[in-house]
Symmetry: C2
Subunit: 95 residues, 2 copies
């Protein structure tokens, strides 16, 4: 993906940011919850989505928050599919 492609798709999921870690661009968003139990419930919902789509994020679960990070190993960065998964993740949170 070109920087232009990324910018354009990012406009559709404005709550997400591109974070670079280990030189790899990733889509990242932190979701807030009222306690640990609600946070881990969301981790599981995203986990089910990941299994269904066979594309797996990094999920950082803490008391009251979950940070979800999407990227594509095979391209060492972002693929259109990551933007799709990010949008789906936001939908899960909105449900």
């Amino acid at each position: 993906m070109t920087p232009g492609d990324i910018k354009k798709l990012l406009e559709k999921i404005p709550e997400w940011e591109v974070a670079t870690d280990d030189g790899i661009s990733r889509l990242q968003r932190t979701f807030s919850f009222k306690d640990f139990k609600s946070a881990i419930a969301f981790t599981n919902k995203v986990g089910e989505l990941a299994e269904a789509e066979q594309h797996h994020p990094k999920l950082v679960t803490e008391w009251g928050k979950v940070t979800v990070v999407w990227w594509t190993h095979s391209v060492n960065g972002l693929h259109q599919n990551d933007f799709f998964m990010a949008a789906k993740t936001s939908e899960l949170h909105a449900d």
Copy 2:
């Protein structure tokens, strides 16, 4: 806890390391699994332990691995209880 206390307790859980993040000492260990599903199952087991003990770690779930990080907010670092929770976490993995 003094550095001597930490060293002594760390000898009892040699698979764990003290990692410093944001100037806060934390106990950290990465557990390996054969896939994402097994990793998230372990995340849930540690989550149940956390709820039972009302002490909550940071859980980083990825394809094939879970990193568990224990520390105590109220002391901005390590408390004896974190070593107890780390040992319990290792037992869950051994089960």
